[in-house]
């Protein structure tokens, strides 16, 4: 939907052959430069894209979660998007009223990876704040991996809380700070300074590659990644 810095990193390292998305930028800062260079110059490899609008992606995940073949919305009319997203957008007429609506094919990912606040020891997961499409993505996917800020004995979930029961979750991993550089409501804020820093890191191929080598390829795990950043004065 909204590829963020981790997508920019994967694209820049050549790990992605195709991107399905509706907005590809560094929020509030500008471009995702690795994404741009892949599309503009095919570096480090060409990137196939299936491009949508947010409402369309939301409908695609909701349809996937519902095991429906497609979702519908009042979207894409009067835009050039359907000319290029030729495999996943069509216009149909409502069988009851004749109203023209967009149909978008369902998405059923192999794996969902999301971050939430808490899980209990059985693997029930609770999240709150801006939920995005996380619930729909988990329910649309064949498997779901959830990282959480903490594992607790009891979620003490209020009635109607956003809880994913353990039997729709494949694995839970406790990763404190795992939303970095984004945030976890109730735990820590969004690291806006890092998003600004990323502009300078990602703009140039060599700088990007050296950064990835230092902080990602050259470290063993998330704890090592954090430590290597903190050594350079980036608070994680």
């Amino acid at each position: 939907m909204t590829p963020d810095i981790v997508y920019d990193q994967m694209i820049g390292c050549g790990c992605a052959s195709k991107l399905v998305f509706s907005w590809g930028g560094n929020p509030g800062v500008g471009s995702l430069h690795r994404f741009r260079e892949a599309i503009e110059k095919g570096w480090p490899r060409p990137l196939e894209i299936d491009e949508h609008e947010h409402a369309g992606m939301a409908a695609r995940f909701a349809a996937g979660a519902s095991h429906l073949p497609f979702g519908i919305l009042k979207g894409y009319l009067g835009t050039d998007l359907p000319k290029f997203s030729t495999t996943s957008v069509r216009f149909i007429d409502c069988p009851f009223t004749g109203e023209r609506v967009a149909a978008v094919s369902a998405i059923r990912p192999d794996v969902a990876v999301i971050h939430a606040q808490k899980a209990d020891r059985k693997g029930n997961v609770m999240m709150w704040g801006l939920l995005g499409a996380q619930k729909e993505v988990v329910l649309a996917s064949k498997r779901a991996i959830v990282t959480v800020e903490e594992i607790v004995d009891d979620l003490n979930a209020p009635m109607n809380a956003a809880v994913l029961p353990s039997w729709v979750v494949s694995a839970v991993c406790e990763v404190k700070g795992g939303a970095f550089p984004s945030y976890s409501q109730g735990y820590y804020g969004r690291n806006n300074a890092f998003y600004k820093l990323w502009e300078g890191v990602s703009r140039d191929r060599a700088t990007f590659e050296a950064w990835m080598e230092r902080h990602v390829m050259g470290t063993n795990d998330f704890a090592g990644f954090r430590k290597s950043l903190e050594a350079e004065g980036v608070h994680v």
Partner: protein, 258 residues
């Protein structure tokens, strides 16, 4: 009033803020729309309802968000809903009076490009893309567009139509089945353009103080029509400027802190 110094961006933000009537439900993106609607909320429109696409309704941020997902938005809203819900029940459901949009290019019928400069398949500049904009453009009661005025932005023909304004003009928007009035104003750093009631072509209806008509025309990539009843925009008031600058100062401080 004594002469107050202000920038062209401040004039643009203030002019956009004035489009918000008190009580209006506004769909707001980050950047200038967020500055404008919050300025409105803090001055003449205290009951304006700010809705951000991340699912925050009745948002009253103390500092402007850097991203649509900032925690500040979640913490200061009346209601939090999921992303699927904001685009279905609230936006497509017709609950939004006024949507604010920006873009890299617009044409004379206020259609917007925020996708690519150049050819879609091999663009010279790849922009972030649509985000929520097409559905906002299609479903809000009316749309106000803000962007900086120059020939690269105000083009005779879009490289890509990301969001539909008045399409090919006339009643083409209605015939396409898009709801709402579509764009009712384009606010730039030079002036204000509004669509002709019949042809829907944008007409220059107001220039900002000190801006010559020739400057606006010369910075537009199509032969811009000028209203016979051309106005001069009221300059920002002391209050508007003070509130806007305070807001931006608080924001800069908050965003500098990691």
């Amino acid at each position: 009033m004594s002469e107050t110094l202000y920038t062209a961006d401040e004039m643009m933000t203030v002019a956009a803020a004035r489009m918000v009537r008190n009580g209006a439900v506004c769909f707001v993106g980050v950047g200038l729309p967020s500055a404008a609607t919050n300025l409105a909320r803090l001055t003449h429109a205290p009951d304006a309802v700010l809705v951000y696409e991340s699912g925050t309704i009745g948002t009253k941020p103390n500092v402007l968000p850097l991203s649509i997902g900032d925690d500040e938005l979640a913490e200061t809203s009346d209601v939090l809903v999921s992303l699927v819900e904001i685009f279905t029940y609230w936006l497509q459901g017709g609950r939004i009076d006024l949507g604010f949009l920006g873009g890299a290019q617009i044409d004379r019928f206020a259609n917007i490009n925020s996708t690519v400069i150049g050819d879609y398949r091999s663009p010279s500049v790849r922009l972030p893309g649509a985000g929520g904009a097409p559905c906002i453009a299609a479903c809000c009661g009316e749309i106000v567009i803000t962007l900086r005025h120059n020939k690269r932005a105000m083009v005779p023909r879009l490289d890509f139509r990301t969001s539909g304004g008045h399409l090919e003009g006339g009643d083409s928007r209605e015939r396409m089945g898009l709801s709402g009035k579509g764009p009712t104003a384009v606010i730039t750093d030079l002036g204000i353009l509004t669509p002709d009631p019949v042809s829907k072509e944008l007409v220059l209806t107001s220039t900002h103080p000190g801006v010559a008509v020739e400057t606006v025309v010369g910075n537009t990539g199509w032969p811009l029509r000028v209203s016979p009843d051309l106005q001069v925009t009221d300059p920002p008031s002391e209050l508007e400027l003070t509130v806007l600058r305070d807001l931006q100062e608080r924001t800069a401080r908050a965003h500098a802190a990691g």
